[in-house]
Symmetry: D2
Subunit: 297 residues, 4 copies
């Protein structure tokens, strides 16, 4: 089928390729002339036959919001917008309402798979009405991994359910990464273990802990045993923060996910103010030596 696709970055570019390989007609728009198919959003709207389906794949937050506001102006009754970015699920209902005022439908779609999705397919979690989802199903079927539709695609619920599910997916992902990383640090710290990489390689088959992320860590350790070239400084893209915030709203205890989030915050601090205060306290009551920060060259 025909699809407009806004945002041809790391994810959108690959998705256009996978969709075209799947026989769909994709009209892509991106502000960068070297990748775009049409010069403007208006041109995108013109290039598509009514009723149109437009997939938005741009950074979440302000960029996504501005894009949807702009789409509300160029789209017409019967069109449908899919937000496939990592939007916070609380943005979805307002966007759906905004578009509905013009008779335009809305689907939120969480897309997992990273740079591997092009070849392996993307895990999809979508929210919206049954009718809207059915309409876009040919697109979802091409994007998702081959095999049983239930193994790689879920219509999780009404508008918002897709991004909520993707948010939880990423929160779980944080905690999984921490789990494997703690295991790595333990193996690397113990002299008995000759080569943590070999252990991670061996875990890829037959063990209870085997997984795709686990394979990736084995690969990363093969590329750079000791991880000497990589800093522990780790950004977070929002979903981890949102997951803990939603957990608080829902009164769900999430010690594993929260620990993973806090570890990222900590990785970005030159020195921890919390630990400075602890060190200062120890000095006060015990006369314990504290490490003074050198002020001379």
């Amino acid at each position: 089928m025909q699809l407009g696709l806004i945002g041809l970055g790391k994810m959108g570019f690959n998705m256009r390729e996978r969709l075209r390989e799947g026989g769909h007609e994709v009209v892509g728009y991106d502000p960068r002339p070297e990748v775009t198919d049409v010069p403007t959003l208006a041109a995108l709207a013109e290039a598509l036959e009514s009723p149109r389906v437009v997939w938005v794949m741009v950074p979440s937050g302000e960029v996504t919001h501005a894009t949807i506001v702009s789409l509300a102006e160029v789209l017409t009754e019967g069109d449908l917008v899919i937000d496939g970015g990592n939007s916070r699920y609380t943005d979805d209902a307002p966007h759906a309402k905004l578009l509905a005022a013009n008779g335009v439908g809305f689907i939120d779609a969480g897309v997992s798979g990273g740079i591997w999705g092009l070849t392996e397919g993307y895990g999809l979690m979508v929210g919206g009405s049954d009718e809207d989802v059915a309409r876009v199903m040919p697109i979802f079927d091409t994007l998702r991994p081959p095999g049983d539709v239930a193994d790689g695609f879920v219509h999780a619920g009404p508008v918002g359910a897709g991004h909520f599910t993707k948010m939880v997916h990423n929160g779980v992902e944080y905690a999984l990464m921490t789990a494997y990383a703690e295991g790595y640090e333990l193996l690397a710290a113990e002299d008995l273990v000759k080569d943590p990489q070999a252990v991670y390689q061996a875990w890829t088959n037959g063990t209870v802990v085997r997984s795709w992320l686990q394979q990736l860590l084995a690969k990363a350790l093969k590329d750079d045993p000791g991880l000497n070239d990589i800093s522990g400084y780790t950004e977070d893209s929002g979903e981890g923060r949102w997951t803990v915030e939603e957990a608080i709203r829902l009164r769900v205890p999430v010690p594993g996910i929260a620990a993973s989030l806090f570890a990222r915050f900590l990785s970005r601090q030159d020195d921890s103010p919390t630990m400075k205060a602890v060190a200062a306290l120890r000095n006060q009551f015990g006369g314990h030596a504290v490490k003074r920060i050198s002020t001379s060259g």
Copy 2:
């Protein structure tokens, strides 16, 4: 090759079957007459040709220790013992020394895969000398999953390295299970999400979080949506506790694994003494209502 196998429980029974299917001659010993091949340990020793290889697959701790002490009496120079149970790795060096006094070799082998190992193969992590490991390699090759030997088997280091690696494997496993379980609780708590099971099923393909454990949780949720028949009461078999203890010894921060361990402890308490004390404190300073425990029928 020929192998003595002590302990024909859930794991050992299946291993005997897989080994026999692989063409090995296995003489099994177990105190339960309905499964054993020989009536006594002495009979086991007699039934094997020298130099013998004996795999011990019994509960860790006292039972394993007693078995190895008994083996030290019936085995002779040139024989080799493999402890395939979930022994603490600190037990390995003493056992190796005990056996070495009689010229008997020792390998510690961590075995992962649970009840699925029979058909899929077991992930193996072993510790010992190069010579000893080479000698038993035909057995390991049958037990491990098919495919590249490095993907399912690791000679992790000298005696102790196998069980240390298996301990870390299980510590990681604890944290992975917590990650998936926290995700489940979040999905189940949010009304937008129609069916957490469908989400877990969809995550099995294409997503970043896909894994064997993740598939198992999808399966468990299919069998019992809502998990209504299962109590949260969860035992721990020791490796999680040991992992945190070793982390403390090695000064490795393991917030994810520790949170998982503490959650298990908590799951076994009728009421948390810590939270009773918190509730008592709130009552003291704020006159906050506390939930009194009813003493009447």
Copy 3:
């Protein structure tokens, strides 16, 4: 000086008493006829000389908001409102703006001390302009504990700073309570320790851990050794949740406070869905026994 005081519950009632003992003229309003001094908010406004100062001490959230909206209608230019409840600090700027439209000033005041404040004085953390704070200083001076003003009172910053500071105070309080409570559980679990209450009593003097909360726990344990009459079920009043949410916004790692918050959530669950999922997983891969929930009477 003269003060209107709205809300004569556990906190407001005692504050009226302390203020009157301190020589102030307090006109209290509460919907309950048995405690109120005036029948309506309008009557309160009439009873006070212009320019008026009105202290709001009602439940945070909707009740506080409705009260301030009502006050905006009956107060006049030059009056001043103090929100002394446990409002979220993000409510303060909107309230200040609402009142400023009528020329009415606003101070947010965090009040600590619970039921003990009547006799010992209340710890105060306030936000607002220098002028507004100076104007109410006689009231603050009576409410705060005797002694140096800096030890019991802080003008933390502009509007919002008072409630932000009080929120952090309560977040810290959560973690302190957990710390003492974990210590109690450890002492109670170890047979060598004859009487955890005696230990908590002994810690009240000379030790590094001595504190007001620590004294209260000693007292609670004296009243009910073993805490047999108290359930661990523990409510949370909002500040703990907000503290973790603000920590996430500010990218501050707060593992101690978050652990305390999650422990409260958990204390209110009959059975943990997270641990049900962990138990289900163990059963799937290991054939580990799970505790089935009895369905018969």
Copy 4:
């Protein structure tokens, strides 16, 4: 009464002074000639009248053990040894047995108060027989803070109970410090709050969070607002590690104390191997940028 005191370091030196001011005759021994009263342990034994009481106040572990072994050689039937250092409580029973072989008694005494104990008195937690404790009570009465004996002294149980209690005290202390330190970091991160030091000062009176440690943090922040001169690098002296280990043995969940311990471990790492692995993983699946470690000057 007469007391031998071995170890005249930061703690022992002050204790000798406090005991002498209290009218006791103290014979101190220390390898440093500038502080010792006698040249050797043998001279110490000779200088004391039988039956002797000797207080050992040296670093825990090997030094304490060696000292007690030496004492076993020079002391005689009816003498009594007090280990007042921060020994692990599991060392106490072996030491008691060693000394009992010569008819020498043993008390383990946890001593809290740091450098402030000289003037304010030391919080004491002791383990031993009723007879032995009664015999040394005059010493304990001088060391402990003035006031009710139950507020600053506890005979916690038999041999080992004193050090166990002190270990828990220090575990709680870790978590308290973390609680206050997290609060500090939050206050310092929020622009609305003008001066975190003023807040900590204000919390010293009237608030629920007031405590001795809280006062010390106010003082530390007064000395060095911003804590610019202090590194977050924080040692741990063993009791925190032991507390978590004992919690694991006793199956007591201690998320607060464990988080505090792990934060110390982390504070001593230049870069976290766990976070390097997380960063490496993100790079693998998402092509997320990682911070490369510069290898050029």
